[in-house]
Symmetry: C2
Subunit: 597 residues, 2 copies
């Protein structure tokens, strides 16, 4: 490990400080990031980074983050502590000795619902209860709206219902209807709640996973911390192999964002990687194991049904979902319906007991342009709609996973069919990638599709890194993927017309127009990279206040000329006088020594 990289990245982003907004109805403190602006008001922005960017909090990953939600859970009076499942050697892939990642030191006893109670946000919402989690996300979503609503709203939302203000009551209604979810396992008490739904800001997910070489706990926690620092709203832990259980503990205990998993991966490890040997009992036990740890959402590939599998045989790229292919193999071998589909009711019972949200997996998503929108893909989508109704009947929260590789002209049909078949449950898509021909640049091929489908109504975008199809992302790839998806999600928010979304664009553009270089860097998604790129050409501090930049130099600066024009226009009403003034002075040519000479 490079000694110059800290084990856990902490400290605020440039010019930023952490502020907290108190709740009205509950004892909550919602974190925001405030960016100081030298030439104007500070700008508050949504902040997924957790306490790691708060200098007032000292981080010790062996202690984990503080217990935000314990009181909220106790106040509801419907959960109980219990012994929990005994951890087995199989849970960590039989890792031993040096190869075994130590367990997280301060284990809490798990919580579960009392009796058959539903302790899901959906159950409370349907009962008319506004939870602290709901008020928390309402405050988060409202950043900047009061200011922004002084001007007329703009945007095309394709039938969404984005309110002027997000009230806790609105959040409750959206969750009750199934149009939004707050992934918040009762055993993830370190969580800063967030909401996923078409009528809220578009969110992004980053995937992490353990390395084949034995990783330290710090390294695994740092992957999560690094992702959320740049804007990931949720993180999926896709670890395989050894130490899955213990690593997941370390991650969740230190995670302020929801953590998702694909429990099938761990279940497969428990049967030595032989898909056919998977059983409902092993899978069920794995769900409980992970629910007790606090996993906030499970990808469940219950939509892959036996009769759909032959539909994939003629595809260019077959089945590209790992979970989908594992279940397809199981179904074919046993020649029967998958245990995920058959036991879906029981899976719901587990999710209901801990409030684990469903992320219904698209096991048959297309892996190439040629396979987009085919019969297999849409057959599964219809099944996911059926399963959504079953889960809702148990008060379980649900989102639906989506493709994949889809050319631009077939993207909207994905969104429309998802809304129709899945009854407006939130859509959570991977990309989609709009062409197959650019390995090494698939963060970009997919950002095009992601921005579009986000605009059309997708609630959360799963990031793609430059290494997609080629290798495991490193630290830089993860950052590139997260920033790329943040900008795609923001482009979608702008186009949907979220009140307040454009404030950051406007603040940055004003800084650009006024040559406030520091503000321009600080207001961007990645201040460090912007500053480094600027400094490659004009490194001196003096150039941070230059009224030109390296692209055009002082002679050709259009921004500078625009200032002259504006200054004149503001002084003069009549064009005649304006022209006269310009004749008197205001040279365009400024004899500044060119920096590079």
């Amino acid at each position: 490990m490079n000694a110059s990289i800290p084990a856990i990245t902490t400290g605020p982003l440039p010019a930023s400080s952490k502020i907290h907004v108190r709740g009205v109805h509950h004892d909550i403190a919602v974190p925001l990031r405030q960016i100081a602006v030298s030439g104007g008001c500070p700008l508050n922005v949504y902040d997924s980074s957790g306490p790691y960017t708060d200098p007032a909090v000292s981080i010790d990953i062996a202690k984990g983050l503080s217990d935000n939600r314990g009181n909220w859970l106790r106040d509801r009076g419907d959960v109980e502590e219990y012994e929990g499942r005994t951890i087995t050697a199989a849970d960590n892939g039989f890792a031993q000795g040096d190869r075994l990642t130590p367990s997280f030191p301060q284990q809490r006893r798990p919580l579960r619902a009392v009796g058959n109670r539903a302790v899901t946000q959906m159950a409370y919402a349907r009962a008319g209860v506004i939870t602290p989690e709901m008020e928390f996300v309402a405050i988060r979503e409202n950043i900047g709206r009061a200011e922004a609503l002084k001007e007329a709203r703009d945007g095309e939302d394709f039938g969404a219902s984005i309110p002027d203000f997000v009230t806790p009551e609105f959040v409750r209604q959206e969750i009750a209807s199934g149009r939004a979810i707050i992934p918040a396992n009762i055993n993830h008490r370190e969580l800063e709640p967030m909401i996923i739904g078409r009528n809220f800001l578009v969110k992004i997910n980053a995937n992490i996973g353990n390395s084949a070489v034995t990783s330290s706990m710090e390294e695994e926690v740092e992957k999560m911390v690094w992702s959320i620092r740049w804007g990931a709203d949720t993180v999926m832990d896709l670890s395989t192999g050894r130490n899955i259980h213990n690593i997941r503990d370390w991650i969740i205990r230190n995670a302020p964002v929801p953590i998702g998993t694909v429990p099938l991966y761990q279940a497969l490890e428990k049967v030595g990687g032989i898909a056919e040997d998977l059983t409902w009992e092993i899978f069920r036990d794995t769900l409980i194991e992970q629910a007790e740890q606090g996993v906030d959402y499970f990808t469940i590939h219950a939509g892959v049904r036996l009769h759909m599998i032959p539909l994939t045989a003629r595809r260019v790229t077959g089945i590209v979902s790992r979970g989908g292919s594992i279940m397809a193999k199981w179904c074919l071998h046993h020649h029967c319906e998958s245990f995920l589909y058959e036991h879906f009711d029981e899976i719901c019972d587990i999710c209901r007991r801990y409030d684990v949200s469903f992320s219904l997996g698209d096991g048959l998503r297309p892996g190439s342009i040629a396979d987009a929108n085919d019969a297999a893909q849409f057959a599964e989508l219809e099944t996911l709609g059926e399963l959504t109704k079953i889960a809702w009947a148990k008060d379980c929260q649900v989102m639906i996973e989506g493709p994949g590789h889809v050319p631009m002209h077939k993207i909207k049909a994905n969104m429309d069919k998802q809304l129709e078949h899945c009854h407006e449950a939130p859509f959570y898509t991977l990309g989609p990638l709009t062409t197959d021909i650019a390995p090494g640049y698939d963060h970009i091929t997919s950002a095009i599709g992601a921005a579009m489908i986000g605009w059309f109504g997708t609630a959360m975008l799963c990031y793609v890194t430059p290494k997609e199809h080629l290798g495991l992302p490193d630290r830089n790839d993860v950052k590139t993927g997260v920033i790329t998806y943040k900008l795609a999600a923001h482009a979608a928010d702008l186009a949907k017309g979220h009140p307040g979304a454009q404030m950051r664009d406007d603040a940055l553009s004003r800084a650009r127009f006024e040559f406030r270089w520091e503000d321009q860097f600080n207001l961007g998604l990645d201040p460090d990279t912007a500053r480094a790129m600027h400094d490659e050409t004009l490194p001196k501090e003096a150039h941070k206040v230059s009224h030109f930049c390296s692209m055009c130099g002082p002679k050709f600066c259009s921004m500078k000329i625009s200032h002259d024009i504006r200054a004149e226009a503001e002084k003069q009403a009549g064009m005649e006088e304006m022209a006269g003034k310009f004749r008197e002075g205001g040279e365009l040519y400024v004899p500044v020594t060119e920096p590079a000479e």
Copy 2:
């Protein structure tokens, strides 16, 4: 200069060879790139890279490329050689001694039309003549169509008229109608013609420019060569300062692609950078200077009219076009209509005499999300439509430049208004950038907009590099910008339903599915980067034939499972038997030593 970087990059891309298709009607040889595929037929792809990737051609930039078009021009019998304008010290910004870039050694005398003849492709097209240039582009555009048309066409083209085959006669009709242009100055005889129009493949432009430090001729030529190697279809030389004339000579004499310029930049240099001192006479002289050199298209900001300027005063970012701001300043100072607008007729006469295409500049394009689609922008667009008719009346070829910064929901209106106001003249857009908040990533914010507007009908996309708004792009930035725009243009071609466009996606996806790693790298837009990323995790040659990759490892490979499924499905019709076969074998778990352990 880094000694490891060759002065001029030559040699084929990996697994690629140059082939030529002969014309039927004319003595032409159209270059294609053929990519060898280990597991299938070779794939032919469009090739903008010129002789630099042809090992059979020896490159000597002091001689320039060979005279492809001399015979074609002589055969038309309507041009004459003449002495040409005398080069002045001002043309090179008064550079002297060591600071003066040497002139290109082997100067040809320029050609011009005889008398008042129009020697434009539009004039020939209207007269019913199919030129060699037209047949050349028809062959280029047709790559893969015969094969692709065996299957049903797909796509949404928003009212375009993309033919099954591009015949020379179709090209002629499109040019005659003004819907397409072939930028091809009669003095650019080294050109490999290409076409820009809504019913043809989407093209991309890369911008280059001299450095503030004195550059060598090799460095300037290499910028162009490097851009076209990765796929730039045209290159704009936006040099300013000293040596503009001589550098441009070196570039054009070595350029197989059309070269565009903004003549106003050089004219401004000639008046010491004082916008108010610009005159029609100096500008006119600069146009002739550049036309004689062989510039293929001129950006002319004739749409910025006096009465529009106050419309920009309240903008967040004013006027961001350099040309636009220079003309605005001139208009305000003199309080009269711009000399570009007033003398547009005479500009057309020059363009007609040399076949320089117009790229009517959008001097009032929006520079921020806040300013998108405003009154200033659309007022100018309407004027560009008027100017288009004037140019067409003189048989001049025209394209229209477009924005800029535009949120997704306002992009389509740009395309629709352009088609309406500019009578279907080709649209040539910069991006558009779909958000302002990601400096350092504006190749991506703009690729989103570029792919969309390309789909809607834009004919050519001007690239944006990661350094946009921050600094001068280096070699890596240029490559990143070009590849990003190639993938955006390709995404647009796929969505529009160009026959043959999907063949490369399919070939690459088949290679991916069959674990043909070398083919997968070679078929991508950037084989070197794809290979390097793969090798970071799995460097050994053995892993180039592995039936898994580093993302999932051998245990979890969905592609591998899909092969099992397909193999069974192909052997068996009935699912019963299929399941039986699976029971007998086909383990998912393959005990391969994991590479990193």
